[in-house]
Symmetry: C2
Subunit: 526 residues, 2 copies
């Protein structure tokens, strides 16, 4: 029996609030600090580890968090989710994105069939299509191979797939699995589509139109923009486009597309990178085998997330420490700082994943909550960020918890030795140095050169960023966000906050405005 | 006589704290709201306007802010700055970035010459060099024209120039001033350099090495990486590289470069886009005339920033409202949301500009301050953000002030009409709708569909993003950050917070570690 209760009504949260806070600068110093780094480390899927030594926890805090996990039934709620309960209470939908990469529990039957079989069938259909594009069975009208794939989508149909593409582009190039260059058109700003079209050869481009409902205005607008460009080049748009949509969407059976691949209402946009939304573009860019490895990595991390012991479940542990930092210690933001240029857009994806899921003020039953929920998420790759906003992170007046990601090896295997170390060593040395600098600080009589320390961080470490570790990394954060939503007793799977803007934008376009809306519209010459 | 006092010692700040807060949802509704939008608007340089109707101000708040501006002597402090006072107290340096684009006050003589003449001479030298590259007087060893320019730099030598390049790339293409494609290498991650080199033709590439000191480890490492690639291609690196550095740097007189262009210690990296740091790459990419227009736009906005009347000085007004939101209303973050795909990396630049300048806990004399200073800055272009993190902005438990930017016209002149409106109209309708949605909210019995409103924003509106408006926009934010630093009585022009990490990274690379640092180093296999 699962109980859905607000965080502030739980006994364990009251207990957690009373635990003496950890003095991070103190406990991370000397041999004690070394011991913490050895001890506070959890294996993750695909050989990675989640090291939380520099987060503000000790045995007392961890004990309270374990109680909180138990009382809020995190493992049971996850089980209910993957077994097909209607967890998305706002939209009255199941939440099945885990099933795109594996069967974690019972079979789930809906829409007249087994959902795992449905997702697998879509992946196989995509794989067959991609293979035909790669081997030249599917070509442009002139019988020439497609060389470029362009995803047209916005939000979850853009940020996740784009981040994954950038993460694996160079890896695929050096591992000889790079098939087609990918580009992305998302913004309704016409300069976005025009700018991308300016850099590609449309005659050899295949466009993937992604819209679950088939009604996303930005995406349909950009589709028209692209169709015009194809027609102007004397090409037949229907021979250059595929659709990723739901089976009930107007796009599903249209003759406007070479083929259509399906997702469904049980997969939210921000959780759709492992569905056909990511599958089509990534399989076309890197080959279906690479996409399959990516799914394997995510599936392996999902399995780890089933563990009810928080010390053996990095996603659950990360989630709980985050709640402690947010609700007890009062930190408002979290920075995601991957020390990997390939992860340059991963923070933007996590920004959506986290903020759209947990930026809520009502619980899953629609009642206001009396505590803070999802934090602000931002980030850029290191070492770049060190030369940018880290000043505030080190010496600003607010504390921002940090999530580092680092890899022992680079992707492309090219390096240079300067001053006795490789660039990869410098990269790793920097992330290690930052963790300790943030945690321990440094005294100085000159207060301008004084570092208070006590600034928490954790690090996820892997051998290399590749399809499997990328999948595991993605799953880690998806599951972290899910567990936090459970703790806060909110529905992490709807997004009613985006609706009002849509309604008002329609009014503006219909010139059905008054008051401030009218004067602003005049200011923009609409 | 200028007085440098902490914010909390001023009378006007005490007064400001006592003014009744504005009920934004209320005042922005109905005809009152329309009147606010008409009234709370300030002309900016280059035909733009700063509209602050949806910020939480009224006549009482504005009156108190005017008193604060007067008491903290913002206009006098700016005057002292551009006339060459040592405003950067930490490093005991003048702050002269405004002089790269114009003479605002007295002549400033230093390093044996007039500084305005020095900056102008560098711009002329760059212009002459760029023209020779464009007309084929300077070529590769085979006598072929360079087609690509690659900036090697990090932090301020990367984020600003990169954001400006992306902002003007498509504009230059449609206005026939596009000369060379630009790429950027910044991260010490070897995959960054290797990835960029993989996409260019090194034989026709010109590299711009940017390091003020000539000792930035990331940049020198990437220089070596690039030189290896050039040598491996049988090319002479010294025929493919120029340096942007200070006259006293080891790079200044080196035979390793085709030419060297100078900046100096009076220009901080994050304020260097209008110096040779931005000048070389932008002049090579778009031609010196375009860079000159960009400087003109910035100079025009600088002139506006001299005005002591806050209602006629958008940068000063924006700064003061920001301080009110930060220190009195307690908001911790600010989002920058340009409705222009070309400004995709402008938020990343502003993130450095603002957080590195004002993320400080000590005043300009090195004493701790008892109030909060610079906020966290993040952002992505709209409409993309609407499908991502706006959920939290609308319905999350914390309020985040927003800075919108919008343009009436796109850059490339291509558009499509869908459902009776162009993409550009949809883009503008969306930003207008968002402002009102955030400010006014919307009641709903279903609390999951309820919008509280009262979420502040302002918008900067221009006709089109082009070199002049880009320059004015950049200057607006530079001066805003400067004025906020004055109000907080901090030194916005040093960055001691980046030092500790550097020191510890060196220790790691020298294997001179113990405690936590050693165990983390082992974890990363360093």
């Amino acid at each position: 029996m699962i109980n859905w209760n607000n965080l502030d009504t739980t006994i364990s949260y009251q207990e957690l609030s009373k635990v003496a806070p950890v003095k991070l600068a103190e406990v991370m110093s000397g041999e004690n600090g070394a011991e913490r780094v050895r001890k506070y480390s959890v294996p993750m899927a695909e050989g990675m580890v989640f090291n939380y030594a520099s987060r503000p926890v000790d045995e007392a805090v961890l004990g309270a968090l374990a109680n909180l996990a138990k009382e809020t039934q995190l493992a049971e709620k996850f089980e209910a989710l993957y077994n097909g309960e209607v967890i998305n209470t706002g939209e009255k939908r199941m939440v099945l994105h885990h099933m795109t990469r594996g069967q974690l529990g019972d079979a789930v039957v809906a829409d007249g069939g087994d959902k795992r079989a449905f997702y697998t069938a879509q992946q196989e259909k995509i794989a067959a299509f991609a293979n035909k594009v790669h081997n030249g069975e599917i070509t442009n009208a002139a019988g020439e191979k497609f060389t470029t794939v362009v995803q047209i989508g916005i939000g979850g149909s853009d940020l996740g797939p784009r981040a994954m593409y950038l993460a694996l582009e160079n890896w695929a190039k050096v591992n000889n699995t790079f098939k087609m260059e990918a580009k992305f058109i998302s913004n309704v700003d016409p300069d976005d589509a025009a700018g991308v079209l300016n850099t590609i050869d449309v005659a050899h481009s295949l466009f993937v139109l992604v819209s679950k409902s088939g009604t996303t205005l930005e995406t349909l607008t950009n589709e028209s923009f692209v169709k015009d460009a194809l027609k102007n080049a004397g090409l037949d748009p229907s021979k250059h486009m595929v659709a990723v949509t739901s089976e009930t969407s107007p796009l599903a059976k249209s003759a406007d597309y070479l083929d259509a691949f399906f997702m469904d209402d049980y997969i939210g946009g921000r959780f759709s990178s492992t569905s056909a939304v990511g599958g089509a573009v990534l399989s076309l860019a890197f080959g279906p085998e690479v996409f399959a490895q990516f799914l394997d990595g995510a599936a392996a991390a999902d399995k780890t997330a089933k563990n009810a012991n928080i010390l053996e479940n990095p996603a659950m542990l990360d989630a709980l420490i985050g709640v402690y930092e947010r609700n007890v210690l009062g930190y408002e933001s979290t920075a995601v700082l991957p020390y990997s240029q390939a992860l340059s857009r991963f923070p933007a994806h996590l920004q959506q994943l986290d903020m759209e899921s947990n930026g809520k003020s009502v619980n899953r039953f629609g009642a206001s909550v009396d505590y803070v929920t999802g934090p602000i998420i931002f980030g850029e790759p290191g070492t770049n960020g060190q030369h940018s906003f880290y000043q505030l992170l080190h010496q600003g007046t607010n504390i921002v918890p940090l999530q580092f990601v680092g890899f022992r090896n680079n992707q492309m295997g090219k390096d240079v030795v300067i001053e006795g170390s490789t660039s990869q060593q410098k990269l790793c040395a920097n992330v290690v140095a930052q963790i300790v600098a943030f945690a321990c600080g440094k005294d100085n009589e000159d207060r301008n050169k004084y570092f208070e320390g006590g600034r928490p961080s954790s690090i996820i470490v892997g051998d290399q960023l590749n399809p499997k570790t990328m999948g595991a990394l993605l799953s880690h954060f998806e599951n972290k966000v899910m567990f936090q939503g459970f703790v806060w007793n909110i529905n992490s799977f709807d997004q009613e906050g985006v609706q009002l803007g849509k309604v008002l934008a329609k009014k503006v376009l219909a010139h059905d405005t008054d008051g401030a809306l009218k004067v602003y519209s005049d200011l923009l010459n609409i």
